[in-house]
Amino acid sequence: MSVAVAFGWRVKWASGYWLMLTLIALFAPVLAPHSPQMQDLAHTLQPVAWLPGGNWHFPLGTDVLGRCQFSRLLFGSRVVVLVAFLAALGSAVIGTTLGLLAGYFKGWIERSIMFVVDVWMAFPAVVLAMLLIVALGPSLGNVVLAIILVDWTRFCRVIRSDTLQLANQPYVLAARIAGASQLSVLCRELLPGVLPTLIVLCSLQMGSAIVAESILAFVGMSVGPAEASWGAMIAQGLGYAFSAPWLVLPPIIATVSAILASIMLGTGLRYAARTTSSRRVSREPER
């Protein structure tokens, strides 16, 4: 059955944004005028090019070490893209697996999984992420891991309640009567059923992961100081907010635009999923 999904403007714009950001991240070494680590101590704290005192050699000016802000912004997109995709994927895999198990098998499996979720929800996400980074040590891989280990509960809760509803649907009961194994019911019947929700959650999770990475970078618990990261650029720029306000604005705008894109993608996909499923339902009597 092929269903033509009508994506609205939100999905088009947001996926266009992510495509662009991914390309920037991939080709950052080609696009950037300078190396993000190169320090030009003769030109520190230069303003942006169009302000008096700036020049196009450093389009967005330089920081206190004379590093090109524009190049650092471009290289910072690598962290954002990696974190957004990997963290969303990882927490989706863990959360969906546990959510499906809890919703389908019920009983003690559900109770123990939901108890773990309750324990996890007792922490503010930031605090748990920081604890994990303290335990694991700050690095990009560990930041992704920490975000996955914190945020899987969001998937688990929603997927579980979706599964609880789906498990009583006639088609799932039919599959069980037809003798499908538990695994096959889970993978072939329930997983496709929760897929629309899952995709929406994934795109929203990209936004949450960006926020989490940005917060950890802001307090210096993400990549090292030499690597470019938007959160670290914001933290550094804030220190010079009086004398050099142009340092802090571009990374803020970049971060907010990435979060906005992921929220737009999620909202747009939710609308698309709703219209698709309603169309499918309305078509059924004809068949």
Partner: protein, 345 residues
């Protein structure tokens, strides 16, 4: 959500006791989790307290004094036992107990959370009602757009944006510290606003309030946009109900219908949302405090992390979890109280 799982299994009265009964079980598990998580560390707290040229004997003594030589389960038990008495151990960076630092920092955070919550509810409800009242005018579109943008800005970026706009560009409000250092307010409750009222110092109260305005607004912006959304859609549903039609037939004004009739029933989803957002709000204080230089739990946590003060990290994390659990439990109890459907099933 929590409550629905117990539907039909217990009667109405004891349903309100279940969240309370779960509290200690979850709290103990949380404590164990924090403990185990930080014990995985390759750090040696004893080595951090001793000078680098300490002898092996001194190190063994220190480990015994700190209880590090015992099995991990014994350490865990001792920690939970002491924590339940309010003793969270000795800080490694200060010559002081962890609890005394937490007790100093807690009022600052509570004051911030309280003001942020209040401001967030006011902003969220006001914008939600305003957007619904003007739902056929361009005002709704404008508020929707702002809402979408506000949702995408996390509270710590709000903090920075507010500093840039009101603190640095317009120079209207102070943005660092709790109060102007000129003022000396005797600490009684630790809540600076109350303390300056108790001291009868109007100027200090003004300064403290001005210092609190930006951080509280930043925090409020983490709950106001989702609140507006939920309130809007719940008002929308309420206006479809028959009692609103009858009210209109009776000649009540739109404004009266909205404020006195629909809004009353639209409160429930708002309280439910608060349950979800409680953890977010409490977590949000961490970065907001660090940005605005408020000496609360968040700054204590970040300081403890940078100086690897394990007992302090454990203690503060536990207090954060306790705060979230208490706020969630309060919301659950409030829901049972507010929604008769949850009581008698």
């Amino acid at each position: 959500m929590q409550i629905s799982r117990y539907r039909g299994t217990v009667d109405g009265l004891s349903r309100s006791l279940i969240p309370l009964a779960r509290l200690p079980v979850i709290l103990i598990t949380v404590a164990a989790l924090v403990f185990v998580l930080l014990r995985v560390l390759p750090l040696d707290p004893a080595a951090m307290l001793l000078s680098p040229n300490a002898t092996h004997e001194q190190s063994t003594q220190m480990r015994q004094a700190l209880g590090l030589d015992r099995p991990i389960f014994v350490q865990l038990w001792l920690w939970i036992r002491d924590a339940s008495r309010g003793d969270l151990g000795q800080s490694l960076q200060f010559d002081d107990s962890v609890s005394s630092h937490i007790l100093h920092a807690l009022p600052v955070t509570l004051q911030l959370v309280g003001c942020g919550l209040l401001l967030g509810i006011v902003l969220g409800v006001a914008s939600g009602v305003l957007a619904f009242h003007g739902r056929n005018t361009p005002l709704r579109g404008a508020l929707d757009l702002l809402n979408g943008l506000a949702l995408a800005i996390p509270e710590y970026l709000w903090g920075i944006v507010l500093i840039l706009v009101f603190g640095i560009t317009l120079k209207m409000l102070p943005f660092y510290g709790q109060i102007d250092p000129r003022f000396q307010v005797p600490s009684r409750t630790g809540l600076l606003l109350f303390d300056s009222v108790l001291a009868g110092d109007g100027a200090a109260l003004g300064s403290a309030a001005a210092h609190l305005l930006l951080p509280a607004t930043a925090l409020a912006m983490s709950i106001a946009p989702p609140l507006m959304r939920v309130l809007y859609s719940s008002l929308d549903q309420a206006f479809d109900q028959e009692y609103v039609h009858y009210g209109r037939l009776r000649g009540l004004s739109e404004r009266r219908l909205l404020v006195h009739h629909a809004l009353r029933n639209a409160w429930l989803p708002v309280v439910t949302l608060m349950g979800v957002q409680g953890g977010l709000l409490i977590g949000g204080t961490l970065l907001v405090e660090s940005i605005f230089g408020l000496p609360g739990l968040g700054n204590l946590m970040i300081d403890a992390i940078s100086s690897q003060d394990l007992p302090m990290i454990q203690g503060v994390a536990l207090v954060y979890a306790l705060a979230v659990l208490i706020s969630n439990t309060c919301v659950e109890l409030a829901l049972v109280h507010l929604d008769p459907r949850l009581r008698s099933l």
